[in-house]
Symmetry: C2
C-alpha cells in the first residue's frame, strides 16, 4: 500500500490532556496527514506543524521544517511559557464553538450576580421566603469587559441582547457596536469607574500579569444597585492576585467574585477562596476545548497554507497574544 499520508505531518504536543481523542479527530479531519506525539531523533525534518497545549519546553526547538504552531486554547500564554520557541507563525484557535461556550459562562455568571443567585440560594437553604422587590433592571447596570478580542466582543453582543449597558477596555483602541470602548493606560481609569460588573477576558502577557490587584480594585469606584462592583475572571489565573481579591472582598472594594481560573491550578485545597461566602468558583471549566470543534478549523488552515494562502488569527509575538 502506498503511503496515504501525502500531506504535511503533524506533531501533537499536549500536557495534562489525553491525546487519544485528539488523534482520532485529526485522523478524521486530516486522513492524508500523519500525526506523531514525539519528534524522531535530534532534529526531525518530517514535522510540518505542531498542534499544542502546554507543549514541553524545548520540544519545538529543533524541527527544521516546522511551518506553524497551532494553539488548542484560546489563550496562547501556555505556548510562550517555552522560551526556546522557533521563529514560525503561531496561530490562535478561533472556533465559534469555543466562543459560544465562553459567552454562555459570562452571561450565566453575570445573571447569577444580577439576579441575586447566591442570596436566593442561601434563603432556600434557610427555608426563607422573601422576595427582594427592589429588582434592578439590566439597563441600570453596566457590564465592563476587559479584553475586546473574539471572546469579549461576542460576550458583549449577547449581554447587550439581555439589556445590559456595556463598556469595554482593550490595550489598543477598538470600536464595538453598543459598547463604550476605552483603551490603554489613559482609558483604564474611566473604564474601571464605569462598571458594576467587570468581566475579564484578557490574554496573559507580561503587561497583563497580575493586573487584577488591589490598586486596580481601588479604582473600581462605582457603587450602583449591586453595591461595590463584582469581578468575573474567565481569562487566565496569572492575571490575578488571589490575596488581593480576598482582601478587596473583605474591605468591601468588591461585593462578589466569580473565578474560573487561578494562579495555580488546580486551586490548593487550603485556599480561602473555596469557602468564602462571596466567591463562586469553577475549575477552569468556562469553555472546554472540544476536539471535534477545534480540529477542523486548524486543518483547514494547514490546507490553505499549502495552497499558498495566508494563515489567519496569527499571534503577535511582541504583544504576546
Amino acid at each position: 500500500m502506498a503511503d496515504r499520508h501525502t500531506n504535511g505531518r503533524i506533531l501533537l504536543a499536549l500536557t495534562g490532556w489525553q491525546s487519544e481523542i485528539w488523534i482520532d479527530e485529526l485522523g478524521k479531519a486530516a486522513p492524508d496527514r500523519a500525526v506523531t506525539l514525539e519528534p524522531e531523533g535530534e532534529a526531525d525534518p518530517t514535522i510540518d506543524y505542531a498542534v499544542v497545549w502546554k507543549q514541553r519546553p524545548g520540544l519545538l526547538s529543533n524541527l527544521p521544517n516546522l511551518k506553524a504552531i497551532f494553539s488548542l486554547g484560546a489563550g496562547v500564554d501556555h505556548i510562550f511559557a517555552d522560551t526556546s520557541l522557533p521563529d514560525v507563525p503561531i496561530v490562535r484557535v478561533v472556533s465559534p464553538d469555543l466562543t459560544t461556550r465562553m459567552s454562555e459562562y459570562v452571561v450565566w455568571q453575570v445573571l447569577d450576580h444580577h439576579r441575586r443567585g447566591p442570596l436566593y440560594r442561601a434563603q432556600q437553604a434557610d427555608r426563607v421566603w422573601y422576595e427582594h422587590r427592589e429588582q434592578t433592571a439590566a439597563s441600570a447596570l453596566t457590564v465592563g469587559i476587559m479584553g475586546l478580542g473574539e471572546l469579549g466582543r461576542d460576550a458583549a453582543a449577547k449581554l447587550r441582547v439581555l439589556g445590559f449597558q456595556l463598556s469595554g477596555w482593550s490595550r489598543t483602541e477598538k470600536q464595538v457596536d453598543g459598547v463604550a470602548c476605552h483603551a490603554g493606560e489613559t482609558g483604564l481609569g474611566p473604564f474601571l469607574a464605569s462598571a458594576d460588573i467587570v468581566v475579564v477576558l484578557l490574554p496573559l502577557t507580561p503587561d497583563t500579569r497580575g493586573i487584577l490587584n488591589h490598586d486596580l480594585f481601588k479604582r473600581m469606584t462605582r457603587r450602583g444597585p449591586l453595591g461595590a462592583p463584582v469581578l468575573i475572571n474567565a481569562g487566565r489565573g496569572g492575571l490575578q492576585s488571589e490575596a488581593d481579591i480576598l482582601s478587596a472582598l473583605d474591605e468591601g472594594l468588591l461585593s462578589a467574585v466569580t473565578l474560573d481560573v487561578f494562579e495555580q491550578e488546580p486551586l490548593a485545597a487550603e485556599s480561602r477562596l473555596w469557602s468564602h461566602p462571596k466567591v463562586t468558583l469553577t475549575p477552569h471549566a468556562a469553555a472546554a476545548s472540544v476536539p471535534s470543534s477545534l480540529i477542523a478549523p486548524i486543518v483547514k488552515q494547514m490546507d490553505a497554507l499549502e495552497r499558498g494562502e495566508a494563515l489567519m488569527h496569527l499571534v503577535d509575538r511582541k504583544a504576546g497574544y
Copy 2:
C-alpha cells in the same frame, strides 16, 4: 381651586402589595386623574377604571361606569378568582420591562442547569477540583417553551441567541421564528418528547390548572446529555402538582427543577421542596412588577380609549387569559 382631576377616575385595588408607590406613580403618570382605594357607597358611579392585583372579590361588581380593568401582573388569573366580575374589557399588562425580567430569569436558570451550576457549587462546598469535560454544546440541547405569548416568544428569542435549539407549545397554533411550534392536545406529545429543558410560561386557566403532573412528566421521554429533562416553572403555581414533581424527581422522570411559583405562596416551611437536592426555588421573584415601568403603558391606554381608540392586549374571557 378648580378640580384638576378632569379625566376618568381610577380605583386602585391591591391585595398583598403596598399601595403608596403605585399611587405615587399614578400621580406622576396621570396628574389629571383622581385615584381612590375604595368605591364610595353602594354603587359608585365616579369610577371609570380599575387597576388591580388580586382585587377583593365583589369589589368591582357595582361600578356602573367602569370602562376597563387593568391587570398589574402578566397573568390575569388573580382577576378571575373573583366570580362576580362586571362585563367590561380586561387588559393584561404588556411591558418590555416585565418581559425583559422574565427572560432574564429563564435564561439564567436554563444556563444554570446547562452549565451544571448545582454540581459545581456542590464541588466548591467540598473543595473538589474536577472539570466535567464532556461539556455539552447549547446547540445539542432543545429548550421547550410551554406558552408562546409575549413572555414565551421573548425568552425563545434570547435563548436562540445563545445557540439553543427551541421547541414550543401553545393552545392555539402559532408560528415563531426559529422555534419548532406544536399546538393543542395533538401537539403536546411531540412537544414533550422534544425537550431537554421544559420552560413553563403558561397562563393559569381552568384548562391548564394542574397540567404539570405525573402523567405529563411521563411523556417527557427525551434522555439527552442532561439525562432526564429539567423543568422550569415561572408561570403560576396552580399549573403544578408539587407532590407529582417530587415523585417525578425521585423516580428519575425529571433530573432537576427550578420553581418560582407554588400551589400556595409563600411555600410552607415544611415543604420537601426547600431541601431537595435537585430543586432550585425562588420566592415568586422571576419578574417583579415595577410601578415605574407598568403604570405608563396603562395610563396610555386610558388616554387612547378616551380619544376613541381601541384597547390593546385584551384578555379573552372564554379562554381565561
